[in-house]
């Protein structure tokens, strides 16, 4: 673990540190000041015991590499697959759950144990290697989605699961809530305002009968997620998706919503349009995270809830404020 | 002073808490001391830990309905009802004089002397006519004619209907319905002889063990030694099925083995054809039928042919009547009843309905809350072709 020791020394010595994985999420959160020391976490498998359904990897491990290793044993750990280059640490720090969240739950439910480097270069471990654990506070969940502001994730233990025996995409013209009511726990309901793309996983007979019962037409694969210069990820209550869709009619954008979840992936060709999309989301009491582009757009658009409490936690973990400064707009509560 | 509780029973509680949701007083108060686990802990503290028997302890024991719902829920089968009755027996001599006088009046003077009870019932019926008895007492409409008309026994009886004390005075019509139904099956019902009055159940709950034993012996002596003894009061039936343990004699055990709840006995006979009516009947399980006699299914069996039966979704939680409990602990009793009434109304839905209750105490308690309550015997009788 010479690499980790060097990493710890670098972090301890730096004034400001920006954590870089594959660089797929540079635009998420506020900009880190130029001049910050870039650090990278090593990649590699640490241990994998298929019968325990747990795997430990270093934070810099690409998601695709992890997926390949698990596939050899018929298992998977469903992290957001949209950027195959993305690192495990980066996906977790970004709190990205992927499009199968409706059935499989959010990324935070995958992380069992985390090791991270603090601003002064110490290694802290939280959680535990077993699939069930309530020993001490839930640091793993706290680190998921923290955008690297509490610690540099160096190693994680994740919960794996058997790969589905079979999976199949199909389409319905009905809105996602209607489709969901006809199905037992679909894996994904991707809705673009015209059609609902339904991912079903499991036994082929069950999939066929569910598709028939719900009147779905089989298609070859998933819908195309919005690919534009300016992209954002909105979070609204799942019940507000219909109303949001009506508002987005007025905005020059393409979008796909995850039915039953409330995540909406929005892409636009102009920064203004993404701002308009954000206004539509906020009108439905949601918020939109800037994911890519739109440099002049506020990263979050809304004030962070429980701001003081979050800032106290930031102070507790990174008193000198050197980890990914600016990513989350903490207030300084300590002198 | 010590509680004289069997120690092995007392320590058999592992405090798992599975009894808590089955305890009506815990459900309405949320207090540990109002739960079976809390009460056992208090008994243990007194008997094993040397804690004093103070007002707080006595109040904790008195607040129990002895519905024995906790016994059914207990995976270790802690005999809670017997522990509670034994604890109360120890407390009995320490009761305040006023309460002991009231108990003397009720338990020693009136209940065991059926003639006196009937005479008082006449007075009560007059008072009722003069509107001197508030409805909230839940007293059924007392009928002079019913009080004047004795029950008929058949010659050469092959089964006996136990008539009891208060029930014979206040709800004799239930007995009459029971006799009619029994005859409809082809049976020849007989009645207890002299002194076949009070069964002693209330005395036992109050901790008056000696009187309870004396009454039990009288009841046994009032009935011939052969033939089923049918009881249309679930509380009495539960006590009479326990005479074997109470008196600890072979004769008492043999007697207890002959005791049947009315519905239990009827369900064992060839089914009576009933006229189906559209009436919705919400089945209320008296604790002493469900938790002690385990005979609640029989009520459904005998009513199913004639009525739309509806179940209450509350695991048979007590209604709060608890014998004399509604008099001694009025506020808790009312709180427990309010919960029950809500559950009954929720189960019944919007239309009219009747509550079937196999215990006179429950019936009066629920009627006092404005519900229409009938005994299964009355419902079966009405549905006879």
């Amino acid at each position: 673990m010479i690499e980790l020791d060097a990493l710890a020394r670098t972090i301890a010595a730096a004034n400001a540190v920006v954590v870089v994985g594959a660089g797929t999420k540079r635009d998420v959160g506020g900009a880190v000041p130029s001049g910050a020391t870039e650090v990278r976490v090593p990649a590699g498998m640490v241990s994998y015991e298929p019968a325990d359904m747990t795997v430990s990897v270093l934070g810099g491990t690409p998601v695709a590499l992890l997926d390949g290793a698990l596939a050899e044993h018929g298992q998977e750990c469903p992290l957001d697959p949209r950027d195959s280059a993305a690192t495990v640490g980066g996906v977790l720090a970004g709190g990205l759950s992927g499009h199968r969240r409706l059935r499989l739950g959010p990324a935070r439910d995958r992380l069992l144990e985390v090791r991270f480097l603090t601003g002064d270069g110490r290694v802290v471990r939280g959680g535990g290697p077993t699939v069930k654990n309530v020993t001490g506070y839930d640091l793993p969940r706290l680190l998921v989605g923290s955008l690297g502001t509490l610690g540099v994730i160096t190693q994680v233990t994740l919960r794996t699961q058997p790969r589905p025996q079979h999976s199949s995409w199909a389409v319905s013209d009905a809105p996602p809530d209607d489709v969901r009511d006809r199905l037992f726990r679909p894996t994904c309901l991707a809705w673009d305002g015209r059609a609902t793309h339904v991912l079903l996983e499991g036994h082929p007979e069950d999939i066929a009968s569910e598709q028939a019962r719900a009147g779905l037409r089989r298609v070859d694969g998933p819908p195309t997620w919005p690919e534009h210069a300016h992209r954002g990820r909105a979070s609204v209550r799942p019940g507000a998706l219909g109303a949001l869709a009506a508002r987005l009619e007025e905005v020059a954008c393409s979008w796909i919503a995850e039915g039953g979840v409330g995540t909406v992936h929005i892409g636009t060709d102009t920064e203004i349009a993404l701002a308009d999309a954000r206004a539509a989301v906020e009108a439905e009491s949601g918020w939109l995270l800037r994911e890519t582009g739109a440099p002049n757009l506020d990263p979050f658009g809304i004030a962070l809830p429980n701001f003081e409490l979050m800032s106290r936690i930031k102070d507790a973990f990174d008193p000198s404020g050197k980890l990914n400064p600016g990513r989350l707009p903490y207030t300084r509560v300590a002198a | 002073m010590k509680l004289q509780l069997p120690e092995d029973d007392l320590v058999a509680c592992v405090a798992c808490g599975l009894c808590l949701p089955a305890c009506p007083t815990y459900r309405v108060t949320g207090l540990e001391i109002a739960s079976p686990r809390g009460r056992i802990a208090a008994m243990q503290a007194v008997q094993l830990g040397g804690a004093p028997i103070d007002a707080e302890f006595t109040a904790a024991m008195d607040a129990c309905l002895v519905c024995r719902g906790c016994e059914v829920a207990c995976p270790s089968s802690v005999p809670f009802g017997h522990l509670m009755e034994a604890a109360r027996a120890t407390l009995q001599p320490r009761r305040p004089a006023q309460r002991r006088f009231a108990e003397w009046l009720g338990y020693r003077l009136v209940l065991p002397h059926h003639g006196l009870l009937l005479a008082l019932t006449w007075l009560l019926a007059v008072a009722q006519r003069l509107r001197l008895v508030p409805n909230r007492f839940g007293l059924p409409r007392l009928s002079f004619r019913s009080l004047r008309t004795p029950l008929d026994a058949d010659a050469h009886p092959d089964v006996f209907l136990f008539t009891g004390c208060v029930m014979d005075a206040w709800q004799r019509e239930v007995h009459r319905a029971a006799l009619t139904v029994m005859r409809a099956t082809g049976a020849r019902p007989g009645l207890p002889g002299v002194h076949g009055g009070c069964c002693g159940a209330l005395h036992l709950h109050a901790g008056l063990d000696d009187q309870a034993r004396a009454l039990a012996k009288q009841v046994i002596a009032s009935l011939p030694p052969e033939g089923p003894v049918v009881v249309d009061s679930a509380g009495c039936g539960a006590a009479m099925k326990d005479y074997g343990r109470l008196l600890d004699t072979d004769g008492a055990r043999a007697f207890s083995a002959r005791v049947r709840d009315f519905s239990e006995w009827l369900a064992e006979q060839a089914p009576l054809p009933l006229r189906p009516s559209g009436t919705t009947v919400v089945v209320q399980d008296p604790c002493h039928l469900r938790h002690v006699q385990h005979a609640e299914h029989a009520v459904r069996t005998v009513l199913r042919g004639g009525y739309q039966l509806v179940e209450i979704d509350d695991d048979g939680l007590c209604c709060g009547a608890g014998g004399a409990y509604s008099v001694t602990e009025p506020s808790l009793s009312a709180a427990v009843r309010a919960r029950k009434v809500d559950a009954i109304r929720a189960a019944a839905g919007d239309g009219p309905f009747v509550v079937a209750s196999a215990n006179p105490g429950c019936a009066m308690h629920l009627a006092a809350a404005g519900l229409t309550v009938q005994h299964p015997a009355e419902l079966v009788e009405e549905a006879l072709p």
């Binding site: 759950s97 839930d138 499991g202 979070s235 409330g262 979050m310 | 592992v14 599975l18």
Partner: protein, 382 residues
């Protein structure tokens, strides 16, 4: 605070107060085709608020996940009297996951006053299997083999001989009284997948020496089998009047080895131990059974309990899977966490409750913070 405030069927969310009983919630929504998934064995007596405090588990957490996966939002009161809403009904909230932090914090970060829980649709098909074995090893090996075969049952529970007999005395569900161990496996979902999985469990079980594999015929039989499993702790008094229950998790692949150690440790301390546990998760519940009236018994019980926990940790396990740390295991925390780990946890707690007023002295051992002095502040919530 024991009301269900709102059930949103379309969103499959219920807002409840913390005093609502776990089982009452599921019963209240079952006619809507929904249930609340975490089902601790004490579910008829335990509250959602308590479940949140301990991040409770239960048999069906094997597939469904523990409490934290089912809590969407919380209204809490912090130790300084301020209120906050953690999490939300949107899939993500900006910033840190305070909701995830609060769940399982054992009351040391504040008090939840309203809780939004996720409700799950009831599965269209459920099969419950009872497998019985003539050795603990065979049952434990079956657990690993089922998982290795690519099946994650919705629940996979084990009971040893003594507890099986005690339970059967109570429920009369037909648990075999002469088995050395039984496994209760449940599979749910859509019919073809369930039947295929049942066939795999049946085959794997028989390959590993299951004498019989009984599939519950109907919902009533299934309920009776589960009643037995969930009454196990309460039935202990049929063996002896007192028990000391442990809760530790080991990697599933170490189950056989650790179970052997548990029985050996109990024997070395002249104690009876029974095992009834969430085998699929590797979540052990060794129960030391004894009569507290025996002189000197507590010393042996504590020594054996301590040895069992250490054996689990040595096998790569953790101190608690679902019951929590509290005071009992607080001083064992250094077995699994070093100074820096504990310091980070102490700082997190301080961020919520700088004066240490909420459940003081729970979870973290003395000296978790550098140079701290422990005290219970005046007016603290204990």
């Amino acid at each position: 605070m024991n009301r269900v405030i709102e059930v949103d069927v379309e969103a499959r969310v219920a807002w409840v107060e913390p005093g609502v009983l776990n089982l009452d919630l599921s019963r209240m929504v079952t006619h809507l085709g929904l249930h609340y998934a975490p089902d601790p064995s004490s579910q008829q007596a335990c509250t959602i608020g308590g479940n949140v405090a301990t991040n409770a588990g239960g048999p069906h957490c094997l597939a469904a996940g523990v409490t934290s996966s089912h809590i969407l939002a919380l209204d809490i009161v912090l130790a300084d009297g301020s209120v906050a809403r953690l999490g939300g009904l949107e899939p993500d909230v900006p910033g840190l996951d305070l909701r995830g932090c609060f769940v399982g914090s054992e009351g040391t970060m504040g008090i939840a006053t309203r809780i939004a829980v996720r409700l799950q649709p009831n599965p269209p098909c459920v099969r419950t299997l009872l497998l019985d074995f003539m050795s603990i090893d065979a049952a434990a090996a079956t657990v690993s083999a089922i998982i290795a075969a690519g099946i994650v049952p919705s629940a996979l529970e084990m009971m040893d001989a003594r507890i099986t007999r005690a339970v059967e005395d109570y429920v009369r569900a037909g648990y075999p009284r002469d088995a050395e161990a039984v496994l209760l496996a449940e599979l749910d979902g859509l019919p073809a997948g369930v039947e295929a999985a049942v066939a795999v469990v049946d085959r794997v079980g028989r390959e590993h020496g299951a004498r019989t594999v009984r599939v519950a015929a109907d919902a009533a039989e299934r309920a009776l089998l589960w009643k037995g499993r969930k009454s196990a702790f309460g039935a202990i008094a049929r063996i002896a009047p007192d028990y000391y229950l442990h809760d530790a998790v080991v990697p599933r692949t170490r189950l056989v080895e650790v179970l052997h150690q548990v029985y050996e440790i109990a024997a070395a301390h002249e104690l009876i131990v029974v095992n009834v546990f969430h085998a699929g998760d590797g979540n052990l519940h060794p129960i030391l059974v004894f009569d507290a009236r025996d002189p000197g018994i507590w010393d042996r019980v504590h020594a054996a309990g301590d040895a069992i926990v250490r054996a689990c940790v040595a096998a790569g396990g953790v101190l608690s899977g679902e019951h929590g740390i509290g005071l009992e295991k607080r001083d064992l925390m250094p077995l699994v966490f070093n100074v820096d780990d504990l310091d980070a946890q102490a700082r997190l707690r301080d961020a919520f409750d700088p004066d240490g007023r909420a459940n003081p002295q729970k979870v973290l051992p003395r000296g978790s913070r550098c140079g701290e002095t422990m005290r219970v502040p005046e007016g603290a919530w204990v």
